[in-house]
C-alpha cells in the first residue's frame, strides 16, 4: 500500500510542474508592465527600466520560468503589488478560512447528497424521488453566486434569521456552505441515484434478499458498497466545484478567505496574488485527488489487489479512468 501511495505522489509532481508552467505562461502574457504597476503612473521612464532590470523582466522566457520555479520551491510566490507583502504570507493568512469552508461544504454535500440519492433509488418514481430529482436539476442549473444572494435575501433581509456576512460562529457558516455546495449536493444525489439503480437490479442483491437478509443490510452493505466507486469519483470532482464556488461566494459574504483575496486582486490588477492563489488551489485540488485515489483502493478490494500486484498496475489505472463519467 505504501508503495502505491509513493508512486501516486510521484505522478503528482510532473502534473504540478505543468501547472506552474501554465500559470507562469499566463503571467508572462498578462498585459501591463509589472514595474509600471508597482511604481504607479508617476514613475519616470528610467525608474521603470531600473526596476524591470532588477526584477529580471528583460530576461528570456525560460530563464524567468526557472527563476520563478526556484522561488516557488523556496515558498516564494512573489510580492503583492498592492501591499508589498510576500504573496505566500498573504495567502497562508487567508487559506485556513477557505479550507474550513470548502471542507464544511463537502461534508454537507456528502451528508445530504448520498442519503437523498439512496432514498430516491430505493423509492424510484415515488413523489420523494421525483421531488429530489427536480431539486437536483435546479441545483445544478443555479449559478451559486445568485443562489447566495437569494438566500441572503430570504434568510437575512427577509426573515432576519441568519447573518448576511462575516464569519464569527456556526450561524455564519450556514448560508455560505449551502450556497456553495448546492451544485455539489445535486450532482452527488444524481450520481448516487443512478449508481444505486444500476446495482440494485444485480443478481447478488436478489440473492441477498432471497436468503432473508434484512432490507437495511441489503441496501447499505450489498448495494451501497458496490455502488460507491462512481459516487466517490463524483465527490472528488465536486471538490473543484466547491473550491471555485468559495472563490466567487466569499466575496458575497465578506469572508476573509483566499477567494476574496483573489477577487480583490483581480480588481486591483494585482497579478502575483491571483496567480499564487491559482497555484495554491491547484495544489490543494491535486492533493484531494490523491486522497480520492487512496479511498478507491480502500473501498474496492479489486482495485487494492490490482495495485499490490505490480504487473496489473497499469490496467487498474486505465480501469479507474474509464469509470470517471464524462
Amino acid at each position: 500500500m505504501s508503495k502505491f501511495i509513493i508512486k501516486r505522489i510521484l505522478v503528482m509532481i510532473p502534473v504540478l510542474l505543468g501547472v506552474t508552467f501554465v500559470i507562469f505562461t499566463m503571467m508572462y502574457f498578462t498585459d501591463g508592465n509589472p514595474a509600471q504597476l508597482i511604481l504607479g503612473d508617476m514613475a519616470t521612464e528610467e525608474q521603470i527600466h531600473e526596476l524591470e532590470e532588477e526584477m529580471g523582466l528583460n530576461d528570456p522566457f525560460f530563464t524567468r520560468y526557472l527563476n520563478y520555479l526556484s522561488d516557488l520551491l523556496h515558498g516564494d510566490l512573489g510580492t503583492s503589488y498592492v501591499t508589498g507583502q510576500p504573496v505566500a504570507k498573504e495567502i497562508m493568512d487567508r487559506l485556513p478560512v477557505t479550507v474550513r469552508i470548502s471542507f464544511c461544504c463537502m461534508i454537507f454535500a456528502v451528508a445530504v447528497g448520498i442519503p437523498a440519492g439512496i432514498l430516491s433509488a430505493v423509492k424510484q418514481y415515488s413523489i420523494l424521488d421525483n421531488l429530489s430529482m427536480v431539486l437536483a436539476l435546479v441545483g445544478i442549473s443555479l449559478p451559486n453566486f445568485w443562489l447566495a444572494l437569494m438566500l441572503v435575501l430570504v434568510f437575512s433581509v427577509g426573515l432576519g434569521l441568519l447573518p448576511p456576512s462575516g464569519l464569527y460562529g456556526f450561524k455564519y457558516y450556514i448560508l455560505p456552505v449551502v450556497s456553495i455546495s448546492a451544485s455539489a449536493v445535486a450532482t452527488i444525489t444524481r450520481m448516487t441515484r443512478s449508481s444505486m439503480l444500476e446495482v440494485i437490479r444485480a443478481d447478488y442483491i436478489r440473492t441477498a434478499r432471497a436468503k432473508g437478509q434484512s432490507e437495511n443490510v441489503v441496501i447499505f452493505r450489498h448495494a451501497l458498497l458496490n455502488a460507491l466507486i462512481p459516487i466517490i469519483t463524483v465527490v472528488g470532482l465536486q471538490f473543484a466545484t466547491t473550491l471555485s464556488g468559495t472563490v466567487v461566494n466569499e466575496q458575497i459574504f465578506a469572508i476573509p478567505g483566499l477567494g476574496k483575496l483573489m477577487v480583490d486582486a483581480i480588481k486591483a490588477r494585482n497579478y502575483p496574488v491571483v496567480q499564487g492563489g491559482v497555484f495554491v488551489l491547484a495544489f490543494i485540488f491535486s492533493i484531494l485527488n490523491l486522497v480520492i485515489d487512496l479511498i478507491y483502493a480502500f473501498v474496492d478490494p479489486r482495485i487494492r489487489s490490482q495495485y499490490v500486484r505490480k504487473k496489473n498496475k497499469r490496467q487498474a489505472e486505465t480501469d479507474n479512468r474509464k469509470e470517471v463519467p464524462a
Binding site: F29, D31, W146, S244, G245, V248, I266, V278, S286, A326
Partner: protein, 289 residues
C-alpha cells in the same frame, strides 16, 4: 445509386428513432420547448424588448414590477425586462461561440490522441491532466485575468478551460471505434488519416460529443455569468451576471433587480440540462434503465 438511397434512408430512420425516444421523455420535451423559446427571444430581442437596453429614464428609477415595466427598473431607470431580453442574446452568443471553439479544438486534439495513441496520446493527455488539475472556474478566472476584462476575452477563457473535457470524451470514444472493421477497411483502400478521422471515426462518435456539447453550453452560461459577476466581463453590456453584480448594493431595498437576471440564467441552464439529459438517454438507450 440504389446503395446511396439505402444509406440515406437508414440515416434518416436512425435520426427519427432518436427523435421518437426524445419525444417520449416529457422532461426532455419541456427542456426543448424552453430552449426554443429562449433562442427565439435571443433572435427577436429587438421586437420583444419594449425599450432599448440602455434607455435611461430618470423619472422612473427603482420601480418594482408593474405594467409598463414587467420586471421593474434599475438605478438608472432602465427597463430590466428589456435588459434581460437583450442579455439572452449576449449569454447565448458567449456560450455558443466559446463552446464551438472548445468543441472544435477538443475534437481534433482528442481524436488525434485516441487514433495515434503512443507518445502523442501520452503528451496530449498529460497536458489535459495539467489543465484539469486547476478547477475549471479558477482556470477560466485566471485566463480572463491574463487577457483582461471584456466579453471576447471571457469567451476565450471559457473556451480554453473547456477543451480538456472535450478532448477526454472524444479520445475515449475514438478508442472504442478505431479498431472497428470499417476503419481497417478505410485504411486498406488508402484513405488518408485525416479522412479516416473525419469520415469514419467522427460520425460514429458524434453521440457523446453532442451530449457533452449540450450540457457544456449550460456550464458555459454559468461560467460566463460568474466571470461577469466578478467584473471580468463588459460592464456596459446587459449581461446577466453583470446585472446581478451591479444590483448587489441594492439587495436590501430592490431585490427585483437581482432576482430576474438570475432567474433568466437558471431557466436557460435548466432547459439545456433537461434537454441534454434527455438527449443522452435517447442517443444511448442502453443507459436508460
Amino acid at each position: 445509386m440504389s446503395e446511396n438511397i439505402q444509406i440515406q434512408a437508414r440515416k434518416r430512420s436512425q435520426f427519427i428513432e432518436v427523435w421518437r425516444r426524445l419525444c417520449r421523455n416529457r422532461l426532455a420535451v419541456l427542456g426543448m420547448i424552453l430552449l426554443v423559446v429562449i433562442v427565439l427571444v435571443a433572435i427577436f430581442a429587438d421586437v420583444i424588448a419594449p425599450y432599448p437596453y440602455d434607455f435611461q429614464d430618470y423619472s422612473s428609477v427603482f420601480l418594482g414590477p408593474c405594467l409598463q415595466h414587467p420586471f421593474g427598473t434599475d438605478n438608472f431607470g432602465r427597463d430590466i425586462f428589456s435588459r434581460v431580453v437583450y442579455g439572452t442574446r449576449i449569454s447565448l452568443r458567449i456560450a455558443f461561440i466559446s463552446l464551438a471553439g472548445s468543441a472544435l479544438v477538443g475534437c481534433i486534439v482528442g481524436a488525434i490522441a485516441g487514433f495515434f495513441g503512443g507518445i502523442i496520446d501520452a503528451i496530449i493527455m498529460r497536458f489535459c491532466d495539467i489543465m484539469m488539475a486547476i478547477p475549471r472556474m479558477v482556470m477560466a478566472i485566471s485566463i480572463a485575468t491574463t487577457l483582461g476584462p471584456g466579453l471576447t476575452n471571457a469567451m476565450i477563457a471559457i473556451a480554453i478551460s473547456s477543451v480538456p473535457n472535450f478532448a477526454r470524451v472524444v479520445r475515449a470514444s475514438t478508442l472504442t471505434v478505431k479498431d472497428q472493421e470499417y476503419v481497417e477497411a478505410a485504411q486498406s483502400i488508402g484513405c488518408s488519416t485525416a479522412r479516416i478521422i473525419r469520415k469514419y471515426i467522427f460520425p460514429n462518435i458524434l453521440a457523446p460529443i453532442i451530449v457533452q456539447a449540450t450540457l457544456g453550453v449550460g456550464t458555459a452560461i454559468i461560467l460566463a455569468a460568474s466571470l461577469s459577476f466578478l467584473g471580468l466581463g463588459d460592464p456596459l453590456v446587459p449581461e446577466w451576471g453583470a446585472m446581478v453584480s451591479a444590483a448587489r448594493s441594492y439587495i436590501r431595498d430592490y431585490p427585483h433587480m437581482i432576482a430576474f437576471p438570475g432567474l433568466a440564467i437558471m431557466l436557460s441552464v435548466l432547459s439545456l440540462n433537461l434537454f441534454g439529459d434527455g438527449l443522452r438517454d435517447a442517443l444511448d438507450p442502453k443507459l436508460k434503465k
